[in-house]
């Protein structure tokens, strides 16, 4: 089952630069929440604070709270490495490990952590994760071939399988379809619809049709001007967002009359 995320008064910095200002957001469990907004408004930045990937960038830091099922991810004594096991992430560019086979890629989360897993358990996990990512039927005969030998869409689904194989509560997706053709995009979107039964999903997308297709809730991020911090402008369920937005900026953005 997925878990809910509550973001409270979140300020995100790169060094001294305030990139995103005062975000308050409630992400429902087992729903798909989409982040939309113009380039540079900080949607990816906010996404990366939800699994503490943001702080990998030198000088990056965060103020405020991110509560995963009531527990603050930025609380004292919280290990960012442990956070990332509960909150999985899929990136814009499919990034399977080039030195690993399809099978090893799926098991990477376990093997890289030096945890032992018996062969039969590993077989079960690989099949479960690849079935979950709608990839099993395409690759079951070549599990020992390298992951980078797959097509772009298959690679992205392999990355999703790799992420779900560590069994997170939440799955973050940073523009997962922006490098894919329409057919692969459709496959990933179908997959997102199935995955929300088991996970809470947050997806950043530039494609508003995609947000309308897959998301239950949509958050619109905006920035006042270049160089100014981004902020959460408007948050609503997707139907309201795209049919009857109660926010002028959001309406202008969605109807293409932006800027």
């Amino acid at each position: 089952m997925g878990q809910r995320i509550d973001v409270e008064h979140l300020n995100v910095y790169y060094g001294d630069f305030l990139a995103v200002e005062d975000v308050n957001l409630n992400i429902q469990a087992n729903k798909v929440t989409a982040f939309i907004g113009p380039s540079g408004c900080g949607k990816s930045t906010v996404l990366r604070t939800l699994d503490r990937m943001h702080e990998i960038t030198p000088g990056a830091r965060v103020e405020g709270k991110v509560l995963l099922d009531g527990h603050d991810l930025y609380g004292k004594g919280v290990d960012p490495v442990a956070v990332r096991r509960d909150v999985g992430m899929v990136f814009q560019k499919a990034n399977p490990f080039p030195t690993m086979s399809i099978r090893e890629n799926v098991l990477a989360g376990i093997r890289l952590n030096n945890r032992h897993i018996s062969k039969s358990d590993a077989d079960d996990l690989v099949e479960w994760a690849l079935r979950g990512a709608n990839l099993w039927n395409e690759v079951k005969d070549r599990l020992d071939k390298p992951g980078i030998g797959l097509s772009g869409g298959q690679q992205q689904r392999l990355c999703i399988a790799r992420a779900v194989a560590v069994h997170p509560q939440v799955l973050l997706m940073d523009e997962p379809c922006s490098a894919l053709d329409p057919i692969s995009t459709l496959a990933v979107e179908d997959l997102i619809n199935e995955l929300k039964r088991d996970y809470t999903i947050v997806i950043v997308t530039h494609n508003m049709q995609q947000a309308a297709r897959v998301a239950d809730y949509t958050a619109f991020f905006n920035l006042k001007a270049v160089g100014k911090p981004g902020h959460l402008e408007y948050f609503a369920d997707t139907t309201t967002m795209f049919n009857n937005p109660q926010n002028e900026e959001a309406e202008r953005y969605i109807s293409g009359r932006f800027g």
């Binding site: 990332r84 999985g88 990034n95 030195t99 952590n113 980078i148």
Partner: protein, 359 residues
């Protein structure tokens, strides 16, 4: 097959004609736009002025031919010494290169007289010396160099301390080899008493020359590992140390191996520092840590500096006056062969672990 080609050609033609009409529409639209735009912008520039003239094109063609010839010549000039070197070494080296030469040392060799085994002495002791001293240098410099490179790329990205280290490494790579030899000699003189000489001392001298090469090549290799992979690993809840060992190092491994092989190839032929540190003896010494040790380059130098021996009239038919220089060439050939074998091993390891080869 033919019909399919024809069909394709037709469809391409059709597309082209459609594209033509579209383009024509675009032109009309563009001219409208231009009419509107001309109110704001001045007159359109005369683009025919910017077209290259016939003469210029001819000239360009000639320039291209001349440059091709010059580049070809430069390649040949660069190849001449290399081929000549290989040819000379092989031609002169094979004369004395046989199993006897490889399996005996120089003990009991008197002048140009043949030894009881039937040969004229050999380089068994020097091969052992070279392999042990170089292995010792590798054991010291690979961990130090690699960890230094990991610190520079993974931990201290661009900090002040990292910049200082990079600078020092670059300075270190310019140290003349004789100075490295002197350093190792003084270090061991302080630690183990004056004038001490052993194989490991040579390893230390060589490692001083090797570390900067290992650091620089490893840093290059670690830098080209995409950040995507590090992030992918972190996102799976993998710690930084395991990410470095199992993802970053593993991905960069083929490049690191070839860098190490290059570094070895650079130091394996060093003569001056080994003359000062490892010394020169005629017998076989297996112990890297005690007693002098002959290495191949030192052997080549020593034999070549003798040039020839005098054969007294009483010596008889078996005495060879030019034997030192012949041994020298044969030892040089063996040294080249060892470097070649090392390169082949490197290639093999590279292929075994490379990203593409696993396809």
């Amino acid at each position: 097959m033919k019909e399919r080609d024809k069909g394709m050609a037709e469809s391409i033609a059709l597309n082209a004609s459609q594209a033509g009409t579209v383009a024509a529409d675009a032109v009309v639209a563009a001219s409208d736009a231009a009419a509107n735009a001309s109110e704001f912008a001045g007159h359109t520039p005369d683009f025919s002025k910017f077209k290259p003239s016939e003469a210029l094109l001819k000239q360009r063609e000639w320039k291209s031919r001349i440059m091709a010839v010059i580049i070809g010549l430069a390649f040949i000039v660069a190849m001449i010494p290399l081929i000549s070197l290989l040819w000379t070494t092989i031609a002169r080296g094979v004369k004395r290169l046989n199993l006897n030469f490889l399996s005996f040392n120089m003990s009991g060799v008197i002048g140009g007289m043949p030894t009881p085994s039937g040969g004229h002495g050999g380089i068994e002791h020097a091969i052992i010396g070279t392999l042990e001293v170089t292995l010792g240098a590798m054991v010291i410099s690979v961990p130090v160099g690699l960890m230094c490179a990991i610190y520079l790329t993974e931990y201290a990205r661009g900090g002040k301390f990292a910049k200082a280290i990079s600078l020092l490494v670059n300075v270190m790579s310019g140290i003349p080899s004789i100075v490295a030899g002197l350093f190792a000699f003084s270090l061991f003189s302080i630690l183990m008493g004056p004038g001490v000489s052993n194989g490991f001392e040579g390893s230390v001298a060589l490692s001083i020359l090797m570390i900067p090469t290992v650091v620089n090549s490893s840093v290059e290799m670690l830098r080209i590992v995409p950040d995507d992979l590090r992030e992918a690993s972190y996102a799976l809840g993998v710690t930084k140390s395991r990410t470095i060992v199992k993802v970053v190092l593993r991905t960069a491994l083929p490049g690191i191996v070839s860098g190490v092989i290059l570094a070895i190839a650079r130091v394996i032929g060093e003569t001056a520092p080994l003359l000062m540190t490892a010394g020169f003896i005629v017998t076989t010494n297996w112990n890297l840590f005690s007693g002098q040790m002959t290495t191949l380059p030192v052997f080549v130098y020593q034999e070549y500096s003798k040039m020839s021996v005098t054969c007294p009239p009483s010596a008889g038919f078996g005495c060879v006056a030019s034997i030192p220089s012949e041994r020298s060439w044969a030892a040089a050939l063996v040294l080249i062969a060892i470097v070649l074998v090392l390169n082949l091993i490197g290639r093999l390891v590279q292929r075994l672990f490379s990203v593409e080869a696993s396809k």
